[in-house]
Symmetry: D2
């Protein structure tokens, strides 16, 4: 893989952690906890909102939500770095699996899990 | 932004959802729940493991963990699409904020939150 | 506190863990991960459901949801045991704090967080 | 079931929500989100801590952790109320299932999931 924007971000985050001597805290285990915490901070913005409202966030809320999204991505990239995972490549692989698990003519309009068919 | 690999993935995921008539389920609210569920599936792999073990996953476990990482990224990209968030751009902005919140000489080797300093 | 049903459950869970030599895994840190994983398993049942549907679960779904609720309670009691927390007592204390944070005449019908008033 | 301390708490929480006209927000779906958010707030306290440290919290941290535990219990009881789940009874049932899934002589000292045996 040439140096893509994803890889650039990953390397910048590695340097950020290294400069602060934070790599000692960044075990995959701890990072998975931090990622889950950030995912819940995103969730919190939506917990009392109805579906329609969640599409139409005001500017201030949209900004806060966007930063939570960034925090999730930051920890996701740190995990990829620590576990040597190529994020773009594995995502393409998983999408190809999903394509086979959820054939259009079988699942159209249904929200069931593949194991429920 | 030119068509980057991140944008390509986002567009492919949009098509995947549209083909299956799943956009009706993909409100930002519901997607934030799905993302949080995937983050916990990652967490589950590490819950009884110690720190050291979480660095040295066997091949089979590494594969499973990688697919969970992909699932998280998939829902993150769907949220970005539904809320019109430029993931790479907002992540750069958030990293710049983090740079100011956590100056190297102040936080080196400490895991405290910026609000605790 | 006399031996209440909550304490009885807590002691039975302690014995269950001890009999299996699982106390070594049950650090508060690991238990907080396990609890979070169970909370997400509950969440997963509701992720693509609308609000109305979440009140009217069919019998099979209601049973599954009930067991997730039990799993959450089980890990919550294990945490209380490991950290010597009196669950009923601390909950009464927290409810009294909430009473002061959210005076009826100020918050009626609003879902804002106390820090947003 | 006679009026136990668990039921008393559940009824007090119902009144708290009703007095504030918050029952409109408390669908099982939304409550499962709120519970998951609280579980992550507990998780956050432990994310950069090692196992040993998580047993030996200082007084201030112990207090904060205890309140998170209470918040989790509060939402768990609200869910039980909205879905008509008898928490103590279902927990006893689930413990009995766990007893059969994890026979002592088979699982002693192992942290594997029952489906992995």
């Amino acid at each position: 893989m040439e140096d893509s924007e994803v890889k650039e971000l990953m390397l910048a985050l590695r340097k950020f952690a290294k400069d602060r001597d934070w790599e000692q805290f960044h075990s995959p285990k701890n990072l998975s906890m931090a990622l889950s915490v950030e995912a819940s901070e995103l969730l919190e913005h939506f917990q009392w909102m109805n579906d329609q409202a969640s599409y139409a966030l005001g500017d201030a809320k949209h900004q806060l939500v966007s930063y939570e999204v960034a925090d999730i991505f930051i920890y996701l990239l740190r995990i990829c770095d620590q576990l040597n995972i190529d994020l773009v490549d594995i995502t393409r692989q998983k999408m190809s699996i999903n394509d086979q698990r959820y054939p259009v003519d079988k699942v159209k309009g249904s929200s069931k899990k593949y194991s429920e068919y």
